[in-house]
Point group: C2
Chain length 276, copies 2
């Protein structure tokens, strides 16, 4: 850390937490600058990144930690326009799924481990548990986040598409997934359309999410400080005027907002995850 870097660190932290709410700047480098500048982008130029980009993103993804080296995830790259269109529809008409030059569906995938056991004539007694699905979903998330960091380091932007979980059954059919593989989320990758790069979104004060020794649930003041900050962000960027609390209640308050994900459990069971 040297003095000339401090203004960049302080500015990045102020953008992420809101001016006055940021932690004191500490160690800093180009990687931290990259990570703190993340914005999800929902409008993409059609032009493809250089040859080899997809493979570089997957190499980064495979370099993430994976529980016991089980490597219980896969990704499907989808380019077919009809498939893209149907995935966009499943995700509540997110047009960027059709626009972006690279679209990946990340899978929780224990089917590969299943195939090797079948080949060896072994049974995997530990497989049918919620634990296996959770390991696979976490593996997929760690891998995907490495792909996101890699993409952003190459000047690309991304957005996760959790709404593929609105109908994992249909996504699995479209991608012809074997039993033991299930979509956990999609990922759009591409260059942002001009004006769609977005603004760094403020997050909760650090004291609300980082606890010391034991959990501190006394966080009303942190939420009260954050609510108007998100309302301002929402006014500037979304022509709305909602606090964080209002958004959370809108997102989780109704069954309708779940868009069918209340049936996720039974659909995962049908896709070969007994979730015992």
């Amino acid at each position: 850390m040297d003095g000339t870097q401090m203004p960049a660190a302080a500015a990045a932290l102020a953008a992420r937490y809101g001016a006055g709410a940021e932690p004191k700047a500490g160690p800093w480098n180009e990687t931290l600058a990259l990570l703190l500048s993340h914005r999800s982008v929902r409008g993409f130029r059609p032009d493809a990144p250089p040859a080899g980009t997809l493979e570089a993103l997957i190499a980064a993804a495979q370099s993430a930690a994976t529980s016991s080296n089980l490597q219980t995830w896969s990704a499907v790259s989808v380019n077919d326009p009809a498939t893209r269109r149907e995935l966009a529809t499943i995700a509540g008409n997110q047009k960027h799924i059709e626009q972006c030059p690279i679209f990946l569906v990340f899978l929780a995938d224990v089917s590969r481990n299943g195939r090797l056991a079948a080949e060896a004539g072994a049974e995997l007694a530990g497989m049918p548990y919620l634990e296996s699905f959770l390991v696979a979903a976490i593996d997929a998330a760690l891998a995907a986040q490495n792909a996101v960091v890699a993409a952003e380091s190459l000047g690309l932007s991304t957005v996760y598409i959790g709404a593929l979980r609105n109908d994992v059954t249909r996504v699995a059919e479209l991608l012809r997934l074997p039993p033991g593989a299930a979509p956990v989320f999609g990922l759009c990758v591409g260059y942002p359309l001009p004006g769609r790069e977005g603004e760094v979104k403020p997050r909760l004060p650090q004291a609300a999410v980082l606890h010391h020794e034991a959990y501190d649930a006394d966080d009303a003041a942190h939420r009260a400080a954050y609510d108007p900050r998100m309302a301002e962000f929402s006014r500037r960027n979304e022509m709305a005027d909602q606090t964080w609390s209002q958004r959370v209640i809108a997102r989780l308050g109704t069954m309708k907002a779940l868009s069918g994900r209340d049936r996720l459990k039974e659909k995962l069971v049908a896709l070969g995850f007994p979730l015992r």
Copy 2:
């Protein structure tokens, strides 16, 4: 990408996939080099990183995408030696949990959203589903992976501790978690002990995890190519001689290897995740 960078890219890819099994080098930069060089480390020097490091890691973690900005994760930093000792015991006597200067427990945490709804007198009908737990676990994983990348960019090493899930009930008691918060994994951060930096672990051929348009389950040849590569790695690094297939079967083949995680579901329900 310029010519002088190609040897570094090719060398990093060869280390990650095994010489001859790597994809062709494409775009390359320092961030990709950092990501591809990841190794999990299980022996740490006791010396603390510079002041502000923990806060920088959490700022990176909070900068990761989070589903609908719900921010359904938290982290507990644990320094108390007695708590560290018990966490190490729960995790099957992983001594590095006691050694490392920074130890974080990442939580799937919908309790904060629950508190704001309670304050507003709102009900969160969408909360009691498996979907909410999955969103929270994925949020925690994306955040943690950003913390890992940030740590490695600062010359620190890390290892995830999934084995905290051996007993989430006891971990929750130790950290005094409120209902709606559950440990998903731990993370050790610190400088590696000399000689414990480890070697980049080879992963499955890219063609085994990256599918195009639809899933290709015809992967026996990829596994056959990878098995001896992991056996060699295991000979060099672990004084063992196990193929990947043998390791997967050892890890998932018995109930004993689950170390109690077959009861994860009922324990999560008791911690306030109905998992409907």
